[in-house]
Subunit: 340 residues, 2 copies
């Protein structure tokens, strides 16, 4: 707390009101809970019969995103990774609070672009800003977000709600973001991948901008028994879904849904399978559905425009395996988070 | 997102579960909302007839505290400044979520001491940890906290709830933390202040460890019309209490409650008054009470063991003044946040 730091804090306090009222207040959408960001706290009146689902996730420049990523993409992902958790718990995204730690006084254009990314997620998900804090840091940009969703009493999908025989589904496609990260990082081998510009762009975009499967909330509420989002990699998160239920599970790698560019890469080089299954940053939904609900779940997801794919099942016992297209167990040990 | 950063992220992901389960899970106190920190989200079932009050405040090493402050004090203040807001809104502190951004893998002793500071605030306030995120940063330690309290429907004290003639009260004493900061920073002039070691220690402790006037929540609920905590300095926060109500106000500086060391310093050098009134970091309650409720408010606060002092009043119009002990208007312009 040097004299300079104190002065910077005072300058930011002066700027803070301007930033809050000019850039952030529009993100409240005028919801009464935000109190126009002019009071000291936000005030939420829960609907009768509802519970609130809380999630806090933070991102740091140079760790979770590239310091030279565009502010709109940074903001989109920072909020989307929180909303993704709410969706996977079958909760309706409602409110968020944010701490924004700036390394330097932000420029107007940067703030506009940042807020455009938040606004994109808000438009897709219905979530609204209701408060937060702006602080100065001597380090990299940090965005910490607490998101709140609502579910009917007792309807939040738990990680461990699955039962033996449940079918395990994922939304969207898997592995794109992990492959896209290698492209975004200009990894020497990735530069040589046999992809057209459209394929490259698809993968990078999937790293920068996770899908928000809002249409899946209602089918999950109706038909799923367990849910979580896939952030650390499909294989480890699948194993967590099993372990939390006290069960084993089998994941059929040949059934894992792939985008066209990911499928092309995998056909050209089977070692990409490890990246696809363990690379993480997918932010798709992983859910367990009772066998007699599977057909209805698939049907309703399709009606909502969301692709879901059955990729495995929960089984009694404690054995968790990933099988290849010959039914042989895969060893994913050294390449990812998962160590069998 | 270099290879090293990615590796650090993976190492932290491995450590994360250990830190969460060993150090942080005890801070849940076993409340069901935390789901033992093993699910992806926390789940809060609001009591019927209650509303939720949300506050997010963050602290950054080198900006809000000294990088070499003890982890117990850092943690205490990081959580206390959020709880202080809830108290001042007459809300019962209930739950918190935290993002902890580490510059380096934390050592066990550091984590223990950090959690001891959080536990102190929890023991004083009843608030319990229900979730959060641990992330790696290349910059200074950042602690971002979202705290949630409950109030009966419609009972949250707004910043702007005051009316003309309302008496304005503060809890505790004012200016200690701002004076303590100068001592903590080893400001050349502060080193020469005519204080005994006990007096110095009192002021520094008040900078490090804000009071939590938990006993004031009930009297505020019963008798106050407006409330906020004092973080940026009494003078600016008093003016905010007035402006939010669309009113003017008069603050009698001679009535501002001082600790014995602060009073000694002020007697020796009247220029300390600016620091006392504008220095900030008090984290005491500032509240507006209708004249016919003043006596009951004072009485109930006293019964709860909290000292409150009437320091001013709200008045019709827009003039906000700070009067000295002769009734002359003070100019506090250049020395603080407040520019009349």
């Amino acid at each position: 707390v040097t004299a300079e730091a104190d002065q910077a804090r005072m300058a930011l306090a002066g700027d803070e009101q301007r930033i809050v009222q000019h850039y952030l207040r529009p993100l409240t959408g005028g919801v009464p809970e935000a109190l126009d960001l002019i009071d000291d706290c936000a005030l939420v009146r829960p609907e009768p019969g509802c519970e609130l689902v809380f999630k806090t996730d933070a991102v740091v420049a140079g760790v979770h995103f590239f310091a030279d990523d565009g502010p709109t993409d940074i903001a989109f992902k920072a909020l989307a990774v929180n909303v993704s958790d709410l969706i996977a718990k079958a909760a309706l995204p409602r409110f968020w609070q944010m701490t924004l730690a700036f390394p330097e006084p932000p420029r107007a254009i940067w703030l506009e672009q940042l807020c455009a990314g938040f606004a994109d997620v808000q438009a897709q998900s219905g979530i609204r800003l209701i408060g937060g804090d702006l602080v100065k840091t001597t380090g990299p940009l940090v965005i910490s977000i607490t998101a709140v969703g609502t579910v009917r009493d007792g309807q939040m999908l738990r990680r461990g709600g699955g039962q033996p025989g449940d079918q395990v589904y994922v939304s969207g496609t898997i592995g794109d973001a992990a492959l896209g990260l290698k492209l975004r990082a200009k990894d020497a081998r990735a530069v040589a991948w046999p992809l057209d510009p459209g394929g490259r762009d698809h993968l990078v975009q999937r790293f920068l901008r996770p899908n928000l499967a809002m249409g899946l909330i209602a089918p999950l509420q109706q038909h799923a028994r367990a849910g979580m989002d896939i952030s650390d990699g499909l294989a480890i998160d699948f194993s967590r879904l099993c372990r939390a239920a006290g069960l084993g599970g089998t994941l059929f790698s040949a059934d894992v849904p792939l985008s066209r560019p990911a499928a092309l890469l995998l056909a050209a080089d089977p070692t990409h399978l490890t990246t696809i299954l363990t690379g993480g940053d997918d932010y798709e939904v992983l859910a367990a559905v009772a066998p007699d609900q599977s057909e209805a779940f698939e049907h309703e997801a399709q009606r909502a425009g969301i692709t879901v794919k059955r990729i495995g099942e929960l089984v009694a016992g404690s054995a968790i395996q990933v099988l290849d297209h010959h039914g042989q167990a895969l060893q994913l040990g050294s390449g990812g988070y998962l160590h069998f």
